[in-house]
Symmetry: C2
Subunit: 426 residues, 2 copies
């Protein structure tokens, strides 16, 4: 817990940078030994972790946190066992560090290559779920990066307990404890300090809401991975297979409404709207989805709501990441207007077109430049696991460094290596 002394971020930063230099020298076998030690230590220390988590939960309940949130914060024996299993699974992933590409002998005589190396020190600011602590720390270790973690205040004790587990494991395999550190003080000023620690920290990953991302962009002098906010669109074109379209819309909206790749806005071509909207409303109504419909869509749904809750869309309803069982619905005259609507309202996370028309599918894919663009598939596929990355640290919606799901490779950078035998530039 916080204690009397404030954490000294500069001291933490220096220690992290020194640790990162040690981690950068390790081969995959050594890093995997550390991961296995963490998994083992998690299993051995499960009682300690659960005891600290119980204190967080009790505090949360006293503060009146909702049962849903408390469940997100809760660790159980089974959940800790899963964290250990997840950590062991990372062992089997391919380590991108050390891979060389672009190897070539240049006309100037230089033998050149690009080698993947760790980024260095990664600062992660996250909210709520304590499993993120293990998740991020182990993915950073796998790629040879040190991490400075700043979890949510609701799980301060749980996060500290988990980081102590990690540090104990690191000590057992003779690696520096400072490879994984946590800021165990809820003072928000420490976040601002972290964001300006550019001498020691190489990348900031915020995992949280739009406010956190904005704060990081505003205050950070360190490159920030912006992402995780998805106002996701799906356009049902004139030629779409409506039966499949109902399945896809349901999947995109209902399967896991609280995540960033869930559907927020449904755009429909006028020629299929009268047939399609009541069908989709009937299906979504079964899951309790509320439809916020505009203009022609509202008229159609007021005639036949399929049993769903239909309300008139308000002025901001097409700029919402719902994260809930709500869906904006709009009829657009055609592909041009669908693209224009998306370009205006999207956060460039995930968009889809459902169509059987080659030209329209091609245009949608060419002109929509969101991180992930789908044809006849659910927006829910924009995910590191689904894309075969084996892991996911964040989903980037920015343009630089990485877009969409970030896996292990996106936790690395590269250096150029030039070899000669007494080579000068002419």
């Amino acid at each position: 817990m916080s204690g009397d002394n404030k954490p000294n971020l500069v001291t933490m930063g220096k220690a992290a940078k020194a640790a990162a230099r040690e981690l950068a020298k390790l081969n995959s076998g050594q890093k995997n030994q550390a991961l296995l030690a963490i998994a083992g230590e998690l299993e051995e220390q499960v009682e300690v972790v659960l005891a600290q988590n119980a204190l967080d939960i009790a505090d949360g309940r006293a503060k009146g946190l909702s049962e849903a949130l408390l469940d997100r914060l809760l660790l159980t024996e089974e959940r800790v066992a899963r964290l250990a299993a997840d950590t062991r699974r990372i062992v089997s992933l391919t380590d991108p560090v050390g891979k060389e590409t672009h190897s070539q002998l240049l006309p100037n005589g230089l033998r050149l290559s690009k080698r993947r190396i760790p980024i260095g020190v990664i600062g992660v600011i996250y909210e709520a779920r304590p499993n993120v602590t293990i998740d991020i720390a182990t993915l950073c270790l796998k790629t040879g990066n040190a991490s400075i973690l700043r979890g949510g205040s609701e799980t301060l004790r749980s996060n500290l307990a988990l980081v102590r587990v990690i540090q104990a494991a690191l000590e057992r395999v003779n690696l520096p404890e400072a490879a994984v550190q946590t800021i165990d003080d809820p003072d928000r000023a420490l976040v601002s300090q972290l964001l300006r620690l550019d001498q020691y920290v190489d990348m900031i990953i915020p995992r949280g809401g739009a406010g956190l991302h904005r704060l990081c962009r505003e205050q950070s002098t360190i490159p920030v991975i912006t992402g995780g906010i998805g106002i996701c669109h799906l356009y049902v074109d004139e030629s779409a297979d409506l039966e499949k379209a109902v399945d896809i819309v349901e999947n995109a909206k209902v399967q896991r409404p609280s995540v960033c790749n869930a559907l927020d806005t449904l755009l429909v071509h006028p020629s299929v709207a009268p047939a399609f909207l009541p069908q989709v409303a009937a299906r979504l109504g079964q899951s309790g989805v509320e439809l916020r419909a505009e203009g022609a869509a509202l008229e159609i749904l007021e005639d036949d709501s399929g049993g769903a809750n239909v309300v008139a869309a308000g002025p901001d309803d097409f700029d919402q990441e719902w994260l809930a069982l709500i869906l904006g619905v709009k009829v657009v005259p055609g592909l041009d207007e669908a693209i224009a609507h998306i370009q205006q309202h999207s956060t460039e996370h995930s968009e889809a077109i459902l169509t059987n028309d080659w030209a329209n599918a091609t245009r949608f894919v060419d002109e929509i430049n969101s991180a992930a663009v789908f044809v006849n598939a659910s927006t829910r596929f924009n995910d590191g696991g689904e894309f075969g990355l084996g892991a996911e640290v964040a989903v980037s919606t920015q343009k630089l460094h990485a877009r969409g799901p970030m896996g292990l490779e996106e936790l690395t950078t590269y250096k150029w290596i030039g070899l000669g035998d007494g080579l000068v530039r002419s």
Copy 2:
């Protein structure tokens, strides 16, 4: 010139973003037509450009700018012809936009690929030389990016004339003029406005000194490419071929002392220092290099300076990017201390080891994580042209997005494309 009305950055940003969407749809042939039109227009309007440049030069002379700086600002018929030739050369480079990689059919049925796309709108803040205007604008166009340029106040008229040439060419090939815009007002507040235009601008490239980079990192809410500042080191190991070493040190220091990959600090193993330092001093002395030497190096050079100007190194002399005919010189006990010195003082731009020892070369390459690491070669090779990139927009020393010389590919990002036929996530 600035005129009465301040440029409206929001208007410029909106126009740039709209233009970027048009550029993103173009194929390489269309973009090359624009480049050829610019080259032609530059040749046709050379008189207009030179007249505006002459006004800048006259102002600069009146302000007492040095002849060296005035020469950097000066455009001549020959230099404009070279700009046209450089623009035509970009036509022949491969356009990275549209390239798809990682194409695969995933176990979940999704046909996935990553497609290279333009970044969007790029803000470039630069100093002095007006040729950067053409250079950056054409490389951005080649990769389908719009640009907002902010050149130095000394060449305000020249830059505006060059941008008008570009815009005239764009109009001739029916592309939006707003694809290349310049902030033609020296007010520094406009730079701050540009740096916070994150709604419209996707990347900031500062090309200038450390102060400009710091300003951008401090103020920008847009990702910034930090780079171009090189405190570059070269370590001469015990086993180095001393004859080749003298050539390489001379090349690294003297060939073009004003650039970021020029050598700043020479580290020497004690066993070769007595023989090597007088040799290198004799060679560098011929070019008027001043040696700032410390401890043992100073003693050796005071005994035999080879005719070079030798002075005792001051406390900050190993934290200088000299950009001049000055070289810090230090004897270090061995590789460990060379690596430690570099890790402490380097800006992670370019470092080299000269050695014939396999283990030492390997350790240096493994443990030095600067953007470019050389063995038995000059630091001067860290350059887009030398690395075969065909072009160079900047040299990044940061960890994210790109490191070292940034060519055309580094002016692009990617989107994920997922194709299915009614695919839902299970």
